[in-house]
Amino acid sequence: MSIQGTEDIILEVKNLQTIFKTDTGDVRAVDGVSFKLPKGKTIGIVGESGSGKSITSLSILQLLASNGKITNGEVFYKGDDLLKLTENQMRKLRGNEISMIFQEPMTSLNPVYTVGQQISEALMLHQNMSKKDAFIRSVELLQLVGIPSPDKRVKNYPFELSGGMRQRVMIAMSLACDPEILVADEPTTALDVTIQAQILELIKELQDRLGMSVIFITHDLGVVAETCDYVAVMYAGQVVEYSDIRTLFHQPKLPYTIGLLKSLPRHDIEQDKLEPIKGNVPSPHEMPVGCRFSPRCPAATDLCRTKMPQLETDENGNQVRCWIYTDEWTGEAEVDIYGETRIAKSGGAKTVLPD
């Protein structure tokens, strides 16, 4: 599986940087994020809380809170840099060509309007539909996302619906205008496990049916495995590994990714215990000078601790931000994977952690 080649890239994020002004100084929430989203595919953006994955998605749509500011980077969509568009032009894209669903279905719907009114709004706005047509379409959309008796539900207020139902409504709303890209920011985190599965299934099914591209923000690698074609792993505001889903799960490169996978319960192999990654995500005020994962990395050398590695691309188009895969790195590192110790030997870009 290759990212380059024949596939159309519908969205490309290059070196995105977003800062937040706070009382205690500026915080670089997103610091040089790059990835490509092929048309019709799903990319997962994975990371722990505070890794900047949600801010990345909000930055793409320019929906940051008033103290957030994009300071650098480009976001190419159909050849245009979204960051150069005026607010008016951007507004025509939001909810129309690029739409978004959020983590909190309980609070993401306006409590004083009915479900139908909220879905209709986007239709009337972007597609110049009449109120009546928009209403009819809203019912169809509710049916599409699997809400029973949609003709009744359409007149409900959000408080009359359960969390899962609300998230379905959010999805219906985001799909109203047949978007090219759906940004799903932790859409299942706040839901029960059974409902989670249903919503994931729904998003996948709708993607197949409507041919959308999806950016899936999550902290859950299990969800990624089920839904994504490509994965960008984020750590402390940066993309640290980017590859197709098979490669990521079968040949993870970065010690951080390996650590993440190790802390994930698996059914295919026997595990004595789940191993959490030791330590915590660095505070945005005390970013390490070198590799940001180095304080927690079992393979870190002095080089890792003093110099920031760059995102290097291999021949398959997969990327990794780690000194181990460069010529500058020398030595050997023991990396513990599922209870087995593997030795990474310096070999430049060809370094492999033997299977």
């Binding site: 749509l61 929906l63 809170a65 507004r91 025509k92 894209l93 939001r94 909810g95 129309n96 739409s99 978004m100 959020f102 909190e104 609070t107 993401s108 719907l109 306006n110 409590p111 004083v112 709004e121 986007a122 706005l125 972007h126 207020y157 408080f159 009359e160 959010m170 709303m173 985001s174």
Partner: protein, 315 residues
């Protein structure tokens, strides 16, 4: 909803009973013998005894209260000690004067307060916001009777709208027929109330603007103007509704001051005059009437709050 209204009505009853008990006890909490106080110092033994008889002060307290309540429910609040007329007649048309004053003041307060609050919230941390909030803070800190005096002074000195100052000649005739007479008192009360509503609206708007559903609206591609006025405002106004009833009540109670400085012949002035002449039945009557209106207005506000805020219905 009907259930809620009924429950709310039932809840109001003990409060109203409490109010009547308190108002009833006013007379009995006065240090000394109520009959003597009513009669005035130096009244003959016989006069005091007659008054005692007339007010039924010889009977036991519960019996007296029972009669007070029974009469009050039928609209009989006793008679003025000074004029001998029924308290209800004394209140008479003054009732509407005061209610009108409070009503118009509420409208002015809501109108000014909402505009100021919304502007402040939409342009928060700008000069406009800061200025509005400073003015509001002053409005909140100003004794409105003093502000009323200043207004009278300015308008008189500027010789502007001379007709509006006619009431200063102490015509004891309520509003008369000129709408101009109502302007200064309504401005006096309304601006003070506007300060409270402006502050409340602003903080409520700012809180709402930080909510997730506002981000959802933005993600839909809705313009900032629609986000503010369609998505945020309606939610922000819900808590503001609750203050409106309080403001109205504040204006009713504040009438004692406003009506005094503007020489308006409403219930407020009647109360003050009655206090000065120790005409307790009248004091009881006006205090009771004003409180009952206030309780009922709050009941209405609560119900409309429920109507606006459907979410509460579930709990």
């Amino acid at each position: 909803m009907t259930k809620y209204i009924i429950r709310r009505l039932i809840q109001t009853i003990p409060v109203l009973i409490g109010v009547t008990i308190l108002v009833f006890s006013l007379m009995h909490l006065v240090p000394g013998d109520p009959a003597q106080i009513v009669a005035g110092e130096g009244a003959s033994e016989q006069t005091v005894e007659n008054i005692r008889e007339r007010l039924g002060l010889n009977e036991s307290i519960p019996v007296q209260y029972g009669r007070f309540l029974g009469n009050a429910v039928q609209g009989d609040l006793g008679s003025s000690v000074r004029s001998g007329r029924p308290v209800m007649d004394e209140i008479g048309s003054r009732f509407w004067v005061t209610v009108e004053l409070a009503f118009y003041s509420t409208i002015v307060a809501v109108f000014l307060g909402l505009i100021a609050g919304i502007v402040s919230a939409v342009r928060h941390y700008t000069l406009a916001d800061t200025s509005i909030m400073i003015v509001a803070l002053f409005g909140l800190s100003m004794p409105n009777f003093w502000f009323g005096l200043l207004l009278i002074q300015w308008f008189a000195i500027g010789n502007w709208m001379p007709e509006s100052l006619e009431f200063l000649k102490m015509r004891p005739s309520g509003w008369g027929d000129s709408w101009r007479q109502i302007i200064l008192p309504v401005l006096t009360l309304g601006t003070g109330g506007a300060a409270i509503i402006a502050r409340m609206t602003r903080s409520s708007m700012l809180e709402v603007i930080g909510q997730d559903y506002i981000r959802t609206a933005r993600a839909k591609g809705v313009s900032e103007r629609i986000v503010t006025y369609r998505h945020a405002l309606k939610n922000a106004l819900i808590p503001v509704v609750t203050v409106v009833g309080l403001e109205f009540g504040g204006f009713l109670g504040g009438a004692v001051l406003t009506e005094t400085i503007f020489a308006i012949n409403g219930m407020g002035r009647l109360t003050i005059d009655a206090i000065r002449t120790r005409d307790f039945p009248v004091v009881q009557g006006t205090v009771l009437v004003i409180s009952v209106i206030f309780v009922l207005v709050n009941l209405l506000v609560d119900i409309s709050y429920r109507l606006l805020n459907k979410r509460i219905d579930l709990n």
